[in-house]
Amino acid sequence: MRGPSVLDANSIPSAAVSAFARMEEVGVKLAGVIRGKTEGIRLLLTALLAGGHVLLEDVPGTGKTTLAKSLARCIDGIFRRVQFTPDLLPADITGSSFYNPRDGHFEFREGPVFANILLADEINRTSPRTQSALLEVMSENQVTIEGKRRDLPQPFLVIATQNPVEFHGTYPLPEAQLDRFSVRIALGYPDHASEVEVLFDQRDHHPFEALAPVITCPDVLALQARVRMVKVDRAVAEYIVKLVETTRSDTRLRLGISPRGSLALYRLSQAWACLDGREFVTPDDVRTLAVPVLAHRLVLDTKARYGGVRNENVVEEALKAVPVPR
């Protein structure tokens, strides 16, 4: 995955260098737990560094939960998991006040959103009302309950999973809410060799149990700040905007990519470059991230959808059409 690093000690403070190195170690550890999914892990770390949220879309049993739990343990963060069901209420995830009869006061009990890593499992199984409560939390990074504002712990990363094969009794996320996820990752089945390794890994215990924290949450926050400093040349920024504009003029789409999408691509490209050990973004970064970051935001019109066009195709075609800055 990684090319040779061009970092030298002068350009980045040594503390940051060591932080990035540890981030890399997180990636290695995660790869030891979730076999054969380095690309997905890297995207997940990119989203974490960019301060975005992740939509994991895959069939059951491919390691979505394990991945989220392992990441939480690696960054020494609080991990919470909510299984979304049709009867789940907004208060069930944000938390609510209880009457404490002993001292006669209302006492606030934090919901599962008060975590660093929140795994929202099968988010499309719950009602739109609960979905929007979660999505609001995701964009605001805070919860307002009974008029009182409560900040969430930082970093805050929501990993929402969606099962793409079942549709009965689900409430598919509306486009406006899909837009709030920075990146969509499809893990897919591991390849043959990796799956054999998975079997042997779990011979006596789950490799997840052996994980120890590698980096702390404040470190991650520092890295997030560092990511924002990564240089994006004007030509690269224009390339991002041209890609996005191409989707807006595509006749097969009901909805192109919003500025929120181009912002996400910008931010994730920075994080990607950072993970690569660079302090500048190249067009290659943008091209690598374009499909995972942009595809889920597009809304195809009915004719194109039934004509077999996939969101990914549209983004790939945009990539083939827009000239790359040299």
Binding site: S11, K231, E238, D276, E279, V281, D284, V324
Partner: protein, 654 residues
């Protein structure tokens, strides 16, 4: 760095036939049509195959619909082919039914082209077009198969490329401008050569142009050949038009040559007694005041002039003087090379007029025209005398004999001669035969009763084509008799039943042929209207226009490309200054290494698709370049320069 190797995606299976496979199918269908234009639906099928190349839409994958279509079309082909029930078990022996098989194959081929491609569809389509072509090959006299067969084989060979395993699409390699220019120049040169070839071999090209459409080209000089009894007449004679006669209201015998010596079933001229008299235009161009017939000769390589017996004069429109032989009464027009030769036949004002073609009957000719050859069975002479018993005037005798033959012997194209002399056998055994037998028999019988007679070959004009216009086709070739009636002169007698009109024996002219004839006539009219421009002049003019158009298009393309290249440079945001120069140098290097120069690919992706570039050094260069281009500016380009200079010398192909 991150995407050194682009993941190739397998292309989806193609929805249409490849170009060579479609070309092969078209050639097969075209060959079948040229062999058998009776299968009139074939041009439609060819158009449908062509359209399937241009249209994306395909038949929905419903077996019921496709089978209904298939069966319906097969039934249509069967019914429209006039399949005879009684020959059901021997159909494979007849070439026209092989064509029917080809037609069914062509229908299936067209259906396949309009269905979504299945896994083995390409092989099936090739097999089907092969079958159709084989069906077309059943007629070996079709000269154009010499061109169609190699073309078909080439197309089939080219379509074998379809069987290559499908791989990820390789970017089209950039073709250097020089190569393209050379290619273009070569194409232009070939076009010029073609034009000159058309100029020098105009006749040949005309023939090639016509022959794929017109079946059974007319054998040359049929009107001249002397009748030779014994052979069956061609059951499918050529429907090629020979003459167009304007000013002829009814039907007419247009004579070409006459023969008076019968020998062993053959007719011929008595060469030793031929007298050539220098009687030219004066005798022929008599300024008669009778009705005028405008006769247009529609075929080349035929100098014979055809005219009715009663003609008073012949007046070529072009003004040349026809040669003529008063002895054989053969008139020859201008030399070959003229597509349409026109002459006026001036008819005598009265039926009794004996024009120059009739000629005087001097003693020697009379002797010759009264000669009954010794091989004739005496019973024929006896029969003739018996028929004319009690009749005194030669006129009555002639009519009686004519009527006897018309009434008593059946007409047939097919002749199965018996033993002995042909004419005697024909008369005595009442053997069904064709016009030459009737004419010969009448001549012999007339001579037997003392009426001088001779046989004439020519055309029997009867196919009306509008107001006072008659078309004469090759299959209207006919033979009849001329008898000398003392006091009247030569008269035409036709003993063939129904005047030999072969209407029932021959199928009517196909509408395709009529359309083609209409086209050629229209073309002739247009050429006439243009002031006598020949085909060559028009072709030259068209070639000139095409050359100008091609040059204009080429210029436009060049300008467009230049504009696009500039736009590309602007769009792809090349850096300024020295870095830009380094970028161009690297791009040139990539081009030399065979990388696809797609502006929508990054250099890394381009370099990954070249297998001659030194990959680690290219990576090193790109790292340095990216640092200088997109990284925080420090203005130091030396690492980039160094990386590029290390890359250059090792960029030779491994």
């Amino acid at each position: 760095m991150t995407s050194d190797a682009a993941i190739p995606t397998l292309p989806s299976p193609p929805q249409r036939l490849s170009r060579p496979a479609a070309l092969a199918a078209l050639i097969a269908v075209g060959a079948l049509f040229s062999t058998s234009p009776a299968l009139i639906g074939l041009p439609l099928l060819a158009a449908l195959i062509l359209a399937s190349q241009l249209v994306r839409w395909r038949l929905p994958n419903l077996p019921l619909l496709i089978w209904t279509l298939r069966l319906g079309l097969f039934l249509w082909a069967l019914l429209s082919s006039g399949f005879e029930g009684r020959s059901l078990f021997r159909w494979y022996l007849k070439s026209e039914y092989t064509n029917l098989l080809g037609m069914i194959g062509a229908i299936e081929l067209t259906l396949r082209c309009w269905q979504p491609m299945k896994k083995n569809a390409r092989g099936d389509v090739m097999l089907l077009s092969g079958l159709v072509f084989v069906a077309a090959c059943n007629t070996f006299d079709a000269i154009y198969m010499r061109w169609l067969a190699p073309a078909f084989v080439i197309a089939i060979l080219m379509s074998f490329r379809d069987f290559r395993p499908r791989v990820a699409p390789v970017e089209r390699r950039w073709r250097p401008r020089v190569v393209r220019s050379v290619f273009l120049a070569a194409m232009l040169g070939m076009g010029v050569c073609l034009i000159f070839a058309v100029q020098y071999f105009g006749n040949l090209v005309d023939k090639i142009r016509i022959e794929p459409i017109l079946r059974n080209p007319a054998p040359s000089q049929v009107g001249m050949s002397a009748p030779n009894l014994g052979s069956s007449a061609n059951p499918r004679p050529s429907p090629v038009r020979i003459l167009r006669v304007e000013g002829l209201a009814g039907e007419a015998h247009l004579r070409g040559a006459s023969f008076d010596i019968y020998d062993q079933g053959r007719w011929g001229l008595a060469i030793e007694r031929r007298r050539f008299e220098p009687a030219g235009a004066v005798a022929l161009n008599s300024a008669g005041r009778g009705a005028r017939m405008l006769i247009t000769r529609l075929v080349e390589e035929r100098t014979l002039i055809f005219a009715p017996l009663e003609v008073a004069g012949i007046n070529p429109v072009a003004g040349d003087i026809p040669t003529w032989d008063p002895q054989s009464r053969i008139v020859r027009g201008a030399n070959r090379g003229v597509t349409q030769y026109q002459y006026e036949a001036i008819l005598a004002t009265s039926k009794e007029h004996q024009g120059p073609l009739c000629g005087p009957l001097d003693a020697s000719v009379r002797r010759q025209c009264l000669d009954v050859p010794t091989e004739i069975d005496p019973r024929v002479v006896e029969l003739a005398r018996q028929i004319t018993k009690g009749l005194n005037s030669p006129r009555d005798k002639a009519l009686a004999l004519e009527q006897f033959l018309q009434a008593n012997i059946r007409y047939s194209l097919e002749v199965r001669p018996g033993n002995g002399d042909r004419v005697s056998d024909f008369v005595l055994n009442r053997r069904p035969a064709h016009c030459q037998y009737f004419a010969s028999a009448l001549v012999i019988m007339l001579r037997a009763v003392g009426v001088p007679a001779r046989i004439v070959t020519g055309y029997y004009a009867h196919e009306s084509a509008g107001d006072k216009t008659v078309i004469v086709r090759q299959r209207d070739a006919h033979a009849w008799t001329e008898a000398w009636i003392d006091g009247t002169g030569w008269v035409s007698l036709d003993a063939t039943p129904g005047s030999g009109r072969p209407d029932r024996a021959y199928e009517s002219v196909s509408s395709a042929r009529k359309f083609w004839e209409w086209l050629t006539d229209t073309w002739a009219k247009v050429a006439d209207w243009l002031g006598g421009l020949g085909v060559r002049d028009v072709l030259l003019a068209l070639a000139g226009v095409a050359a100008v158009a091609i040059a204009g298009q080429w210029l436009r393309l060049m300008l467009k490309r230049r504009r696009r290249e500039k736009q590309r440079k602007r769009d792809s945001a090349y850096p300024e200054g020295e870095l830009g120069a380094l970028a161009e140098r690297f791009e040139r290097l990539l081009r030399e290494a065979g990388a696809p120069l797609d502006p929508a690919l990054t250099w890394r992706e381009q370099a990954a698709r070249s297998n001659t570039i030194d990959a680690p050094r290219a990576r090193a260069f790109l790292l340095a370049y990216d640092q200088a281009r997109f990284g925080p500016a420090d203005g130091d380009l030396s690492p980039v320069r160094q990386a590029l200079s290390q890359l250059q010398p090792t960029s030779t192909p491994k």
